[in-house]
């Protein structure tokens, strides 16, 4: 479903701030894979997701989604294949627009936009049902401005938006990191549900090792722009946080001092 070959990206080349963020990364995802991605700060997790989404051009390598070469497509054209949820709850929705309007825009992802009405009555009914399935009381606030909602509610809506028009690949970039633990758990459960119901292929970056182990069927660990550990199936199910810690200390030379990495 996703095939990345020899992906490299260096930020600020030729300056003192030069940073090789991705070094010859290659990975292939099968249809239905749900991959969790862990790694320290600056390991290249978000960079990899942004490279796939096309936020900026890559230096070398190629990216295929469902057999289509998207390496040179601009960000908005890749959106046809890719659904995304960001770390910042403000980033995935338009605050000044209604919940229904945001969903309607997402429903037309990858489609030709015309001069017909941006939202139909039938759609509103459908969105109402979808929202009530979130169990956040949003079905009665269909036309409320998204800016009035909480971070968790906004992430839930962004998740709906990312999956409304079934994407070939769903990218979740630390989408629960900015939420309080209770809300984070709710949004994570919702992510699981949406991925399962729609049988999506997904990648989820997280700082929470336990989440990385408990969710998805495959786990990769990144370090200094490389994928250093890739485990799936039964082997992944048997993983413990202590295994990941050991692995992490092994590659980072025993120095485990990452205050953002959560142990449980």
């Amino acid at each position: 479903m996703l095939e990345i070959k020899n992906l490299s990206k260096t930020f600020n080349p030729g300056t003192v701030n030069e940073k090789q963020a991705l070094t010859n990364v290659s990975i292939t995802l099968n249809e239905g894979d749900f991959v969790t991605i862990i790694g320290g700060n600056g390991a290249g997790k978000s960079t990899m997701l942004n490279a796939i989404a096309g936020v900026w051009p890559i230096d070398s390598g190629s990216i295929f989604v469902g057999g289509v070469d998207i390496t040179r497509l601009p960000e908005h054209k890749r959106a046809k294949y890719i659904g995304r949820v960001f770390q910042d709850p403000m980033m995935g929705t338009s605050a000044d627009m209604g919940i229904d309007e945001n969903l309607a825009i997402a429903a037309r992802r990858g489609k030709h936009r015309t001069l017909s009405w941006s939202i139909t009555r039938k759609e509103r009914e459908k969105y109402k049902k979808l929202l009530s399935s979130l169990d956040l009381g949003l079905e009665d606030r269909l036309t409320s401005k998204v800016g009035l909602l909480s971070g968790g509610q906004r992430q839930a809506i962004t998740l709906l938006m990312a999956s409304l028009e079934k994407p070939q690949l769903l990218l979740l970039d630390e989408h629960t990191a900015a939420l309080d633990p209770k809300t984070a758990a709710k949004v994570l459960a919702l992510s699981d549900k949406i991925i399962e119901e729609n049988q999506l292929t997904a990648m989820m970056v997280t700082h929470n090792m336990k989440d990385a182990i408990n969710h998805g069927n495959r786990l990769i660990m990144m370090h200094e722009g490389n994928i250093i550990y890739d485990v799936s199936g039964e082997e992944k199910k048997k993983l413990h946080v202590s295994d990941l810690l050991a692995k992490f200390e092994e590659v980072s030379g025993g120095e485990f001092a990452n205050d953002r990495m959560m142990l449980n």
């Binding site: 980033m91 605050a95 309007e101 825009i105 941006s118």
Partner: protein, 308 residues
């Protein structure tokens, strides 16, 4: 010496000016509010609209056709700014300034000299200050039609994409919207309206002048802000919000008439306008700062809390 009668006599003219220039202010609303883009092309494209209309009318073209032509040429001006910004990567404000500067030459080319007059005696103009009541009525019809079209357009799939572009570019791109196209559509539409307004305003005054657009963006911003401050809490509907911009523009011209009666010289007007707009732009910033340092005290009890 303040002359109240003179002010009353000046008011209908202010209303007419405000309504006709209100269409320009609606154009500014599209870029400044919907697109979140401070577009300075306006100072050039307003004159372009006036110039195109006046020159065509002088050539014997129907004044309504001349208005349409002005609208189209104004759209081209917006396209130029959009091109500077999206294709050439020039920051928005600078892109507008470049267009504005370039349009000066184009406006001179269109007119041949810095001022061209069309007399209402000789041509069948759409509006004229000779017939102020008529001008207000015609202006209002244009305003209603423009608001109607915008209300429809921004409610379509494409219009919704333009709004998303202005609201959150990240979200727009992630949902497959080409934000460059979104910005260009907004700029084209906005400057088309600005030029249309310029074409009406030039007919109203009976001439197009190379300096007629100078400071137009400030008038537009003032109208948007006055409309928002006075009616922002009452008017929730988008069409009404656009109308409040036109009311803002009328109030602006009424205030100008007032300060002129109070003895301010016409050359001092621009400084006055600039300062007024600066203060109004500062109000949301100041009130935000004040609220941050003075959190509202929660009052307990009483009727308002009883239901909670």
């Amino acid at each position: 010496m303040f002359n109240f009668v003179a002010l009353l006599n000046a008011l209908p003219g202010s209303v007419a000016q405000g309504v006709l220039m209100g269409i320009m202010a609606i154009g500014v609303y599209i870029t400044y509010k919907v697109l979140d883009f401070a577009d300075l092309t306006v100072d050039g494209s307003l004159c372009t609209g006036g110039a195109v209309a006046v020159m065509l009318i002088m050539k014997g073209i129907n004044p309504y056709v001349a208005l349409l032509a002005a609208f189209a040429v104004g759209m081209l001006a917006g396209l130029l700014t959009g091109f500077f910004h999206t294709v050439m990567g020039i920051p928005g404000i600078l892109a507008g300034i470049l267009s504005q500067l370039g349009l000066y030459s184009i406006n001179m080319r269109i007119m041949g000299k810095s001022n061209q007059a069309v007399s209402v005696d000789k041509y069948d103009l759409v509006v004229s200050l000779r017939y102020i009541t008529m001008a207000i009525a015609v202006g209002l019809i244009f305003v209603v039609v423009v608001i109607g079209i915008l209300y429809w357009f921004l409610g379509t799939e494409i219009g919704s994409a333009v709004r998303a572009t202005g609201c959150n570019e990240n979200m727009a791109r992630a949902q497959g919207i080409n934000t460059n196209v979104g910005k260009i559509i907004g700029l084209v539409l906005s400057n088309g309206l600005v030029a249309l307004s310029g074409a009406l305003y030039a007919q109203y005054n009976g001439n197009a002048d190379i300096n007629m657009g100078r400071g137009a963006i400030v008038i537009g911003l003032a109208s948007v802000i006055i409309g928002e401050v006075l009616f922002g809490k009452i008017f929730r509907n988008f069409a009404l919000r656009l109308f409040s911009v036109v009311i803002g523009c009328v109030i602006y011209f009424a205030v100008i008439a007032l300060v002129l009666q109070l003895g301010l010289s016409t050359t001092d007007l621009k400084l006055f306008s600039a300062l007024i707009v600066a203060v109004f732009l500062a109000i949301p910033y100041w009130s935000g700062k004040y609220k941050a340092t003075h959190p509202a005290k929660v009052k307990k009890g009483g009727k308002t809390d009883a239901g909670n």
